[in-house]
């Protein structure tokens, strides 16, 4: 599903590499936490997966493709097989919940009939049935993140990447989001979640990958958040 072979990434005009010789493999259907303090390289890790950056050295394989060699025009097609969720939700404020989810399908040219069918299904799955016509501004943070997850999952991606999805949420809403991500993981979708939320990591007991100053310092199955940073 994901394989990093001795991946290093150095940004131009920076001396210290953001990632240094990272090698790891994530199998299909896994649930993986990516932890580490700010500046540890988590964002770079995710940007490499999304092919927003290319590695300086080494190779990043996602869904069997070497992203370093993937030509630009093939990148959109690759991203359709990924779902992405962010801390700040990234919803369109002038579209309803249903329109926000439908937007992701419209812009990849899905036919209207298919969109009308799958959007209610996925909103039901994330627990937003009945709120299709609300605007994002009328929803709580937890509900907005559910919309974002619905949008990321509506295309049934093989891999869901979540960048601190609970970072803006209170503990109660966070638990709800984690239950949802766990449910999505049980459908066979691989979930990779970068987080600072110690309680969640300790409670879920999933595989934990820790980065520190660009180095992979821990890869532990059924791990905990680790040391206090």
């Amino acid at each position: 599903m994901i394989r990093f072979d001795n991946v290093s990434k150095t940004y131009p005009k920076q001396n210290r590499p953001a990632l240094m010789d990272v090698s790891l493999e994530i199998e299909k259907g896994e649930f993986v936490f990516l932890v580490g303090s700010s500046g540890s390289g988590k964002s770079t890790f995710l940007r490499l997966l999304l092919r927003e950056e290319r590695p300086s050295q080494g190779a990043v394989h996602v869904l069997g493709k070497d992203l370093g060699r993937l030509s630009n025009w093939k990148v959109p097609h690759m991203r359709r097989q990924l779902g992405t969720v962010f801390q700040d939700f990234r919803l369109l404020p002038n579209k309803t919940v249903a329109q926000n989810v439908a937007f992701a399908l419209e812009v990849i040219g899905k036919p209207k009939a298919a969109i009308n069918k799958v959007v209610p299904e996925v909103l039901d799955l994330v627990g937003l049935a009945g709120k299709e016509d609300r605007m994002p501004g009328e929803l709580s943070g937890g509900e907005q993140q559910r919309v974002a997850i619905a949008r990321a999952f509506v295309n049934r991606p093989m891999l869901l990447i979540a960048d601190e999805p609970t970072g803006n949420l209170d503990p109660q809403n966070s638990v709800g989001i984690m239950k949802l991500l766990d449910r999505i993981n049980r459908t066979g979708t691989t979930v990779l979640m970068a987080t600072h939320d110690q309680a969640i990591v300790d409670q879920m007991r999933k595989r934990v990958i820790e980065l520190d100053k660009g180095h992979l310092v821990r890869d532990q199955s059924r791990g905990v958040y680790g040391y206090q940073h």
């Binding site: 999304l50 959109p76 991203r79 359709r80 990234r90 369109l92 937007f103």
Partner: protein, 302 residues
């Protein structure tokens, strides 16, 4: 590509950016109107050249009684019958000559009166004051020099005149107008392009949230860029429509106001204008789309 989705995106984009859109429409309209005018002036010059060069001839004026002092070749006074016959025979021998017409003094006087009906000299100048002439039609109007060198200064020939020279001043003026129109158009095109580039930039910036999500969910570059390109092309289409309107109004002005006053010129009309309009639409939309495309390449990387 779902047309309805794209159309609604274009509408939203243009309305959101109304002032810039108006600026683009007006500048595109002006530059295209100037481009069209410049093309039409060229058509006009070509049409006039075809019309007049056909009519205009080389005039070989023959000596008049009064020319003896003024022209060396006329020292013998008025042209003699023998000289006249000789000149005509010589003219017909030249391979560049297509046709020779003789114009006697009475005809010359008649033509002169027709062309200058209000001239106060009409009463004073009699038929005797005007020279008789051979009107020579050439196979190729450019070959004037052959006639001039062969006949200027011959006994009985007062002078040789290429009537094209009179027209060349007019054509020079029209060509100058065309050049000015072209120059102003070039500047306007620069303005229009800069405005389009800026409009697309503002548009791309104000919709960066949408385009960010589009890239995230794997929309193809075509899908991401299409609304912006279509937006610019649509604004240019409005500009082209406005430019066409301006040209049609100009056409009405030329035919209803200018033509009755300047009757000796045949002005080109609606068919030529209608031929130019599709060209303007294509050029305008193409220009805008290409400008938008290259702007976006910089602002919407994968």
């Amino acid at each position: 590509m779902r047309a309805q989705f794209v159309m609604s995106e274009i509408g939203v984009g243009l309305r959101r950016n109304l002032t810039m859109t108006i600026a683009v429409v007006v500048s595109v309209a002006l530059s295209l109107a100037l481009a069209g005018a410049s093309l039409l002036v060229r058509d006009q010059v070509n049409s006039m050249k075809g019309f007049w060069y056909d009519k205009v001839q080389v005039a070989v004026y023959l000596c008049n009684k009064s020319d003896a002092k003024q022209y060396a070749s006329c020292s013998g006074g008025a042209v003699t019958d023998q000289q006249r016959t000789q000149i005509k025979a010589d003219l017909l021998k030249l391979p560049v000559v297509a046709d020779v017409q003789y114009e006697n003094k009475q005809d010359a006087y008649k033509h002169w009166k027709e062309m200058n009906p209000d001239n106060p000299l009409t009463g004073v100048v009699g038929a005797d004051g005007l020279p008789e002439s051979f009107r020579v039609k050439l196979k190729d109007p450019q070959q004037y020099d052959v006639i001039a060198s062969a006949f200027a200064g011959k006994p009985g020939v007062q002078s040789v005149e290429d009537q094209r020279k009179i027209l060349d001043n007019l054509f020079g003026l029209l060509n100058g107008l065309q050049t000015v129109a072209f120059g102003v158009m070039s500047l306007m095109v620069c303005v229009a392009l800069l405005l389009i580039v800026n409009t697309v930039r503002v548009s791309a910036f104000s919709r960066r949230r949408e385009t960010g999500i589009m890239r995230l969910v794997g929309a193809s570059n075509f899908y991401v860029q299409m609304p912006f390109i279509a937006e610019a092309a649509f604004a240019a289409l409005l500009g082209a429509a406005l430019a066409s309107g301006l040209l049609l109004v100009g056409n009405l002005f030329v035919h209803n106001w200018l033509q009755p006053r300047v009757q000796f010129i045949h002005f080109i009309g609606l068919p030529e204008v209608m031929r130019v309009i599709p060209l303007l639409v294509v050029i305008g939309m193409g220009m805008a789309a290409v400008a938008a495309f290259f702007t976006l390449r910089k602002y919407l990387k994968v």
